[in-house]
């Protein structure tokens, strides 16, 4: 780590003024990602600003629109095991518990989960070119070992994926991100929070300088009856997704009233395709229909030398997970296949 100074921000305004005045003053909450990035010299800090003492953003409570507001400083574990989340948003609970390890979930915060960086090995290796880490230096992954990389949403400058499991569920739930900053507070739809790399892959999301996440709102609709999270990876646990799928279904008289499907591990942000979800409306929840949806979601997918397998894997995972969603009681620890 470089030599940095350290201070505790006791209120929001202090944190905002410290980071808006200097791009290299960095916020730290759980620390599980930024400490690692500092150790690898991927991130440098002038001052590290500890925000854990900021009041008012570390609770889970009902919001004014019948949904739930989860504070940015609540840990991933406390969120996943919260009684309201387990009951009304079990998809979120399962997705969180599929990520990282118990120790990391006890430390990592919800705000930090949205802001974690990619685990592309070239991003992490400061000896190699990487446009995300060092803009303009090139992408080592496109011609390199790209097994874990993107098949959707990538660009000629970056094919890294966003690694979060929690965010795949937040995408399906149409969460809303609350942001404070030097200007007025604003709310951003989850689908607009993260961004595709284009020719500026150094920016993972649409936060502006000095802004920080204060809370995440979950709308009332939680898909608590028909849901599933499936995570496919190289180990049975404690590994990032090669492909993951979050599904929420709403059924009426045996037909699909609403379907939401998001992919993780395949793109620079959780991947949803509205037309593919709309296609399922009014149809029977059966394999043939989910196969057609999977084709639509993977439309335009482009693999590279080592990750082409993800295209077929993602299609099969979508079908499997949609069928699993019809019987959520079959969910297994670690979001393993259950049917």
């Amino acid at each position: 780590m470089n030599n940095f100074s350290f201070t505790k921000a006791l209120d929001m305004d202090t944190a905002i003024s410290l980071t808006s005045g200097n791009d290299h003053n960095k916020l730290i909450a759980g620390g599980t990602n930024i400490i690692d990035l500092l150790k690898y010299f991927i991130t440098e800090a002038d001052t590290l600003v500890d925000i854990n003492s900021i009041p008012g953003i570390s609770k889970i409570a009902e919001n004014e629109t019948g949904g739930i507001r989860i504070g940015a400083l609540v840990t991933n574990a406390d969120t996943a095991y919260h009684a309201i989340i387990e009951e009304k948003y079990p998809l979120l609970s399962k997705a969180i518990l599929a990520g990282a390890s118990a120790q990391i979930r006890n430390m990592a915060t919800n705000g930090g989960n949205l802001l974690q960086r990619t685990r592309c090995y070239y991003f992490y290796d400061i000896h190699t070119p990487c446009n995300k880490r060092e803009p303009g230096s090139g992408c080592s992954a496109i011609q390199g070992y790209n097994r874990i990389h993107a098949i959707l949403g990538h660009s000629e400058s970056c094919i890294a994926v966003f690694p979060s499991d929690m965010c795949v569920a937040l995408s399906v739930l149409d969460a809303v991100v609350h942001i404070s900053g030097p200007e007025e507070e604003r709310n951003v739809a989850f689908s607009d929070f993260h961004r595709l790399p284009g020719d500026t892959p150094e920016s993972d999301n649409n936060l502006k300088r000095g802004e920080l996440i204060t809370a995440i709102d979950l709308p009332e609709k939680g898909f608590s009856k028909y849901y599933s999270y499936l995570k496919l990876r190289d180990r049975a646990s404690y590994s990032f997704a090669l492909v993951s799928v979050a599904t929420g279904l709403d059924l009426e008289n045996g037909l699909i009233k609403e379907a939401r499907i998001a992919l993780g591990g395949v793109s620079p942000k959780p991947w949803r395709v509205k037309e593919a979800e709309d296609f399922l409306k009014g149809k029977e929840p059966k394999i043939a229909n989910f196969e057609a949806t999977a084709q639509m979601i993977l439309k335009g997918a482009k693999g590279f030398e080592h990750n082409r397998f993800k295209i077929e894997l993602a299609k099969k995972a979508i079908v499997r997970n949609c069928m699993m969603a019809l019987d959520p009681t079959s969910q297994r620890a670690g979001a393993k296949p259950s049917l």
């Binding site: 780590m1 470089n2 030599n3 940095f4 100074s5 350290f6 290299h24 730290i28 620390g31 599980t32 400490i35 690692d36 500092l38 150790k39 690898y40 010299f41 440098e44 800090a45 002038d46 001052t47 590290l48 500890d50 854990n52 574990a77 095991y81 990282a100 390890s101 118990a102 120790q103 990391i104 006890n106 430390m107 400061i126 000896h127 180990r235 049975a236 646990s237 404690y238 297994r332 620890a333 670690g334």
Partner: protein, 168 residues
Amino acid sequence: MIPNFRFMANSEKHSITLQVNGHPYQLELLPWVSLLDALRENISLTGTKKGCDHGQCGACTVLIDGKRKLSCLTLAVMQEDVAITTIEGIAAEGNLHPLQQAFIDKDAFQCGYCTPGQICSAIGLLNENKANTREEVQDLMSGNLCRCGANKGIINAVMAVKQSISHE
């Protein structure tokens, strides 16, 4: 290779007090000292191990206010006013903690390097009380790697203590 830093702040040492195993330790630490390094280098509690130093292996697991956390991924200056428990602090005077005894009984280690982290993690797991089946215990212990491959014995040890608690 260590890159040329843009920042080399003339950081001052912070005067902090860490509460470890029930004892206060007054320390003068630079801000970038991890809790793991503070425990090992400044307090000389070397039971907590440095494996990967990047949050991938679990060898540095300690209990903070009863919750299992990775001491390599947090700074010592962030851990004032909390109760830190390391492997040295889990047993009552003169006795082994039930998990320590179970690790011996169930052959749950070979080289022993991951063992302090495994045991602290297992105590955290039992405090959480979220694992009901062997599969769930395996999943919730997956943050602790054992390169010797003693995993089966480790899970046997955790299951044995878990069952003895539920029969009390």
